[in-house]
């Protein structure tokens, strides 16, 4: 509503004159004083406005004239709403009020130095995301992903719903999400856009052990405190051990990645619980950890479409991780350790004898990483980095009768050195070299040179 200052003053005096007689003269005087103060403020503003009109329109720019005064208790005079203002930022595309579209993508080139014939270029992923708000407390958020350029029955590509959930804020500091949500473990899973991580491809620990992008159907609460503590707890679906294929290498590449369900007709007999806690009370520092646990047998022996002889209905997955990140000045350091265990696999693995990939009892991984924003100009930046990872997707197996057990896999250790060149904060070109201590051509492990392009909007 527009309030002309003179009008306000007149209204104030009319209101004063029209007020019913008051028994308390002191209160009346106080009210008069308050109105006088407001009128004085109005006069001040009008005078300033007149002076600036005379003087032109602002000292350096010739721009601004002072608007009418808004004294305490009087609604703001009309002004334009603050407009999108991040100069070179790349906003999501507004599709009408309440709906926003965004996206990211990643293209990679991998050149194994010892097997140059295996060099490969790939449109690794293209993602479109959207959010639509229903009201000031409820919205739906989704991401749809295409992997490897083409998705069809004859091609290697996939089309996936990467996340799709409804979020409802219960209070400014906490709320609830329900749907297909990202499991908030580690540093990468929830923040997996190519501009967010160093190196052409995501680190091995948070793909082989924490199977990014890991999502489950769940209902989860989230919140934060002013002291810098943020939390997330949820209950939802979990992996399905009944899907384990001992003849495949998938379980060796990523135990959980091979049995995740991604809410695709997910067997949901056994709920899983997860929770994370992060503390960011000191600027630049993040300390946190998380836990995911649940039975993953999914009643396979009792399901109508299951295997009546499945011996691991009670198998339980427990995966935990701790992480730290310290970003100070041009430096960015990170470290993460994660360890997982699957119980009650002895009988299951006995049935897998002779197969190449039994179910591990334990698996783990860790990395340390350092990056340095060495050069910055305009909105570009060159950020060299180095990362050391160690991980083992089958560090141990449940005991078997003598002579029948499988040997644990060797621990893979990978050095990655390279650089992210940010053309701007939303477009990145990447280069790196990776050194593996064990080659595995099936899993694609071997010294290699990588190039990549990533973007987000």
């Amino acid at each position: 509503m527009k309030h002309h200052p003179i009008t306000l003053a007149v209204l104030a005096f009319v209101a004063l004159g029209g007020a019913p007689a008051r028994a308390d003269e002191a209160a009346l005087k106080a009210e008069v004083e308050a109105l006088r103060a407001e009128v004085a403020a109005l006069k001040d503003a009008v005078q300033q406005m007149r002076a600036e009109r005379v003087a032109g329109s602002g000292p350096a720019t010739g721009a601004a004239a002072t608007a009418p005064a808004t004294p305490r208790g009087v609604p703001d005079a009309p002004q334009p709403a603050a407009a999108p203002a991040s100069a070179a930022a790349s906003p999501g595309l507004a599709l009408g009020e309440g709906t926003t579209l965004w996206g990211y993508g990643q293209l990679d080139y991998n050149h194994p130095t010892a097997h140059a014939a295996d060099a490969r270029a790939d449109l690794t992923r293209a993602v479109l995301g959207f959010s639509h708000v229903f009201d000031d407390t409820t919205r739906v958020v989704g991401e749809i992903e295409w992997e490897h350029a083409i998705a069809s029955a004859e091609d290697a590509g996939e089309t996936e719903v990467e996340q799709l959930y409804v979020e409802h804020a219960l209070a400014p500091n906490y709320g609830v999400r329900a749907g297909l949500v990202l499991i908030p473990l580690g540093l990468l899973n929830e923040h997996h856009e190519p501009t967010q991580f160093y190196g052409v491809q995501r680190n091995f620990v948070e793909t082989a052990i924490i199977p990014s992008t890991w999502r489950e159907g769940a209902i989860a609460g989230y919140g934060s405190t002013d002291a810098g503590l943020s939390w997330n707890v949820g209950i939802g679906t979990g992996p399905n051990l009944g899907k384990w294929d001992p003849a495949s290498d998938e379980g060796r590449a990523s135990p959980l990645g091979s049995i995740h369900q991604e809410l695709q007709l997910a067997n949901a007999h056994d709920p899983a619980l997860f929770g994370t806690l992060n503390w960011q009370g000191v600027p630049g520092l993040t300390l946190g950890g998380g836990l995911f646990t649940g039975k993953i047998g999914q009643a396979t022996s009792r399901r109508s479409d299951g295997d009546a002889n499945f011996p691991a209905d009670d198998a339980r997955l427990t995966l935990g991780e701790v992480h730290a990140r310290w970003q100070t000045g041009p430096f960015d350091f990170a470290a993460l350790y994660t360890r997982g265990a699957i119980s009650d696999t002895q009988a299951l693995n006995l049935g897998f004898l002779g197969q190449p990939t039994p179910v591990p009892k334990s698996f783990w991984g860790s990395y340390v990483q350092g990056a340095w924003r060495a050069l910055e100009w305009n909105r570009s930046a060159l950020v060299p980095f180095a990362r050391y990872e160690a991980f083992n997707t089958a560090a141990s197996y449940a005991a078997q009768p003598q002579g029948l057990g499988s040997a644990a896999l060797p621990t893979e250790r990978v050095w990655t050195v390279g650089a992210n060149y940010y053309l701007n904060p939303n477009v990145v070109f990447k280069i790196d070299y990776q050194d593996f201590n064990h080659d595995d051509t099936v899993l694609g492990y071997g010294n290699r040179f990588d190039l990549g392009i990533g973007y987000q909007f």
Binding site: A37, A40, A41, D44, P59, A60, T61, A63, A64, A65, T66, T70, P71, R72, D76, A77, Q79, A81, A82, A83, P84, A85, S86, A87, A89, P91, G92, L93, L95, G96, E97, G98, T99, L101, W102, G103, H132, V133, F134, D135, D136, T138, R139, V141, A169, L187, H191, S224, D226, A227, G228, Q280, G281, P283, G284, T286, G329, D332, E376, P425
Partner: protein
Amino acid sequence: MRVRWLIPAGACMAAVAPAAYATQYLSVEQAQRAAFPQAGAFVPVAAPDAATASALDAPPGWAPRIFAARGEDAATLGWLIVDQVLGKSEMITYATALDARGAVLSVEVLEYREAHGGEIRMAAWRKQFAGKTQSDAAALGRDIKNISGATLSCRHLTEGVQRVLRLHDFLLAARTG
């Protein structure tokens, strides 16, 4: 990118739900009172024109709401500038309070709309801006520590405060008195 096929669907959704998801932590008036409890009045100042916005490297249409905080004696105590910057894909509404010299008194997040990155509301992070002046603006990108998981919100809000500091130097400093 071809997204025209989505526009009709978006328009339909917008038509039935013209709302904006936003968690409001402070109103403008609350931010005014928090920054300048001793002020007797908050006098709106017209938004910068296009030439000023261009000089400050702001996009066309940039229209921060500017208030001069006045004491009982009508002296300018400082300024409160309410602005918006992009977080990741949604806008963040924030208020920067400057003292009469143009040094940052406080930065408050008024409304936040992103699913992630709300950690920028933490007082410890926002306190990093306290005392910064226009002469510090260029170095803010390095001086203000990032929050993991809220990189874009941190970067864009820092850029917003940089622009506000330059705005003071460019437009408001001469008005103090």
